[in-house]
């Protein structure tokens, strides 16, 4: 399995797969296949896929460790950037089709509606993660600071979930919200459990950590 993931065609294939939901939505938009309220459908579907890609990204590390598939790490950046891609589609669709790019109205919405404020904050926090996703940024920041910044994805996942929850609370319709909450709880919970289980200092400090073992006199 690890070998398959290392195949030169693997990344392009995953790229195409990640683009499929967008392609389907785009095609649906062009052919009036998004139902009676296409704008609402598009905004909601883009939001759904953002949340799904956040879950997929958060699943990379647990899967890599549990299944010992180190090659999965190669895909994490692409998957994360696709989460950003779908959140941009979500935000653009809302700004354009719901609000007609009236920035004063959009600002008012962000200020007055808690669920939009939370969603917008998640977007704002995800932006530096997208902006520092390429190799030169990692080198410039240094591994420790880069990792600390990218741990923000945990908070972003929580904010995204809250955004979805608050939106659905108006219709008392929580079934889907609970599914995503359960998935994210497991993915984050695994990290807590993994950290506690290993009780290892963070990898970047491993080189300087005191080694256990008999003292050689």
């Amino acid at each position: 399995m690890n070998k398959l993931l290392m195949h030169p065609a693997a990344k392009p294939l995953v790229f195409v797969l990640c683009l499929l939901p967008f392609a389907w939505l785009f095609y649906g938009a062009l052919t009036d296949g998004l139902g009676a309220n296409p704008a609402e459908y598009l905004i909601r579907a883009a939001g759904d896929w953002t949340l799904r890609f956040i879950c997929i990204v958060l699943a990379v590390t647990p899967l890599r460790v549990i299944a010992k598939l180190n090659a999965l790490a190669r895909f994490r950046r692409m998957l994360g950037l696709f989460a950003y891609f779908y959140v941009v589609v979500h935000l653009l669709s809302y700004s354009w089709f719901d609000m007609g790019f009236e920035f004063a109205d959009i600002a008012k919405d962000i200020a007055k509606r808690p669920f939009i404020l939370v969603g917008f904050s998640a977007f704002v926090l995800l932006t530096p993660l997208a902006a520092t996703s390429f190799n030169r940024a990692i080198k410039a920041m240094g591994a420790k600071r880069w990792q600390a910044l990218h741990k923000l994805v945990y908070l972003i996942a929580g904010l995204g979930l809250l955004h979805f929850f608050w939106m659905r609370a108006g219709k008392n319709n929580f079934a889907e919200v609970f599914v995503y909450a359960a998935i994210i709880a497991v993915l984050l919970g695994w990290r807590v459990w993994n950290y506690v289980r290993n009780k290892k200092p963070p990898p970047s400090l491993a080189a300087t950590a005191p080694r256990r073992g008999p003292v050689i006199r």
Binding site: A29, D32, L34, G35, A36, N37, P38, A39, E40, L42, F97, D98, G100, D109, K112, R113, F115, W166, M167, A169, G170, K171, N172, N173, A175
Partner: protein, 332 residues
């Protein structure tokens, strides 16, 4: 010159002109659907609309004719929503919470036999079979705007008669201040009754003067046919100046009460859905603004601009006086 003709004026029919017996026996059916067609054609020509081009009903349900209504405000001139959209984009949580669920799942609803029970503070309570209820007063076609609290709207040609016709017949007592409507809640035929989204049965209510208003429609059909299941068959109310959730569907009970009844969405989220729920661009929903709305099937598709929401959904001239002096921000 007097030339006598042998023609006595009687036109002898040829045998080919004699009406076949089957056709003669079906003459009443033919009249019935001619009447429906004629009413439809009259409506269409009056409003200069081509019913077929409007996305009319496909003719799968029984026809229901309604005469042109003379009630002020009852006939908007706006473009009708396509039948396809009106019957496949619905909120009817008894059949699921997605917009496409009712059309998929409402097939299990049994609309015959159907009884509407009238009870409470009335001098003449009783049980009305749906066939009798349909005939209680003359059916009218009303072309109303329907505005959902979610921010979308449609224009639908309903068929029914003013609820006041029924109310007058049952003679409410002096202390009957409100009318409560209860929807069927049968878990055997409605798969999502029992889900925790709402309290069941779905309950709605109107103040007596709102219920007596001529625009409040006891509704039996749409687009020249009986109601499809997903739109609240076989009988519902339509209150066009309020958010759509006030227009209860598939009604089994009409109760006349003294105190303001609890309503489904108010019980689910009291700070978001009030008893009155009049369409009001100045009173926001806590989660989204009500200043604009999206007209389904607008023609612009994805790029259709949202329209400004009108006070009382454009029925201010007809219903504004019901709320004179009321603080509509408090009584949302």
């Amino acid at each position: 010159m007097l030339i006598h003709s042998r023609d006595d004026g009687f036109l002898h029919p040829r045998s080919s002109e004699i009406t076949p017996k089957g056709v003669y026996e079906g003459r009443r059916d033919m009249l019935r659907w001619l009447a429906g067609g004629a009413a439809g054609a009259a409506m269409a020509s009056w409003a200069a609309r081509d019913a077929l081009a409007q996305g009319a009903a496909p003719g799968k349900l029984a026809p229901l004719a309604g005469a042109k209504s003379a009630v002020p405000g009852a006939q908007t001139m706006e473009k009708l929503t396509d039948y396809k959209d009106a019957t496949s984009y619905n909120n009817f949580y008894e059949f699921g919470t997605d917009k496409g669920d009712p059309v998929k799942n409402a097939g299990s609803l049994k609309t015959r036999p159907w009884t509407v029970e009238v009870e409470g503070l009335v001098k003449k309570p009783g049980k009305y079979g749906i066939e009798d209820l349909v005939k209680l007063s003359a059916q009218e076609e009303r072309i109303y705007r329907l505005r959902c609290v979610e921010g979308w709207s449609m224009v639908i040609p309903w068929i029914g008669y003013s609820l006041s016709e029924l109310i007058k017949k049952v003679e409410p007592q002096g202390n009957a201040k409100f009318v409560e409507f209860l929807t069927l809640a049968d878990p055997k035929t409605m798969p999502f009754v029992g889900s925790r989204v709402l309290d069941w049965p779905y309950a709605e209510g109107l103040r007596m003067d709102e219920a007596m208003h001529p625009l409040t429609l006891l509704t039996f059909g749409m687009y020249g046919e009986v109601l499809p299941n997903q739109n609240g068959a076989p009988v519902r109310i339509v209150v066009p100046w309020k958010y759509g959730f006030k227009s209860a569907k598939s009604i089994v009970k009409i109760r006349f009460v003294e105190k303001e009844p609890g309503t489904a969405w108010n019980k689910a989220a009291a700070n978001e859905y009030g008893f009155y729920s009049n369409v009001n661009p100045n009173v926001d929903h806590p989660r989204w603004s009500q200043a604009t709305e999206r007209r389904i099937g607008d023609g612009g598709g994805l790029f259709a601009k949202r329209a400004k929401t009108q006070m009382f959904n454009g029925y201010e001239a007809q219903v504004g006086q019901l709320y004179a002096g009321m603080d509509l921000k408090k009584n949302y």
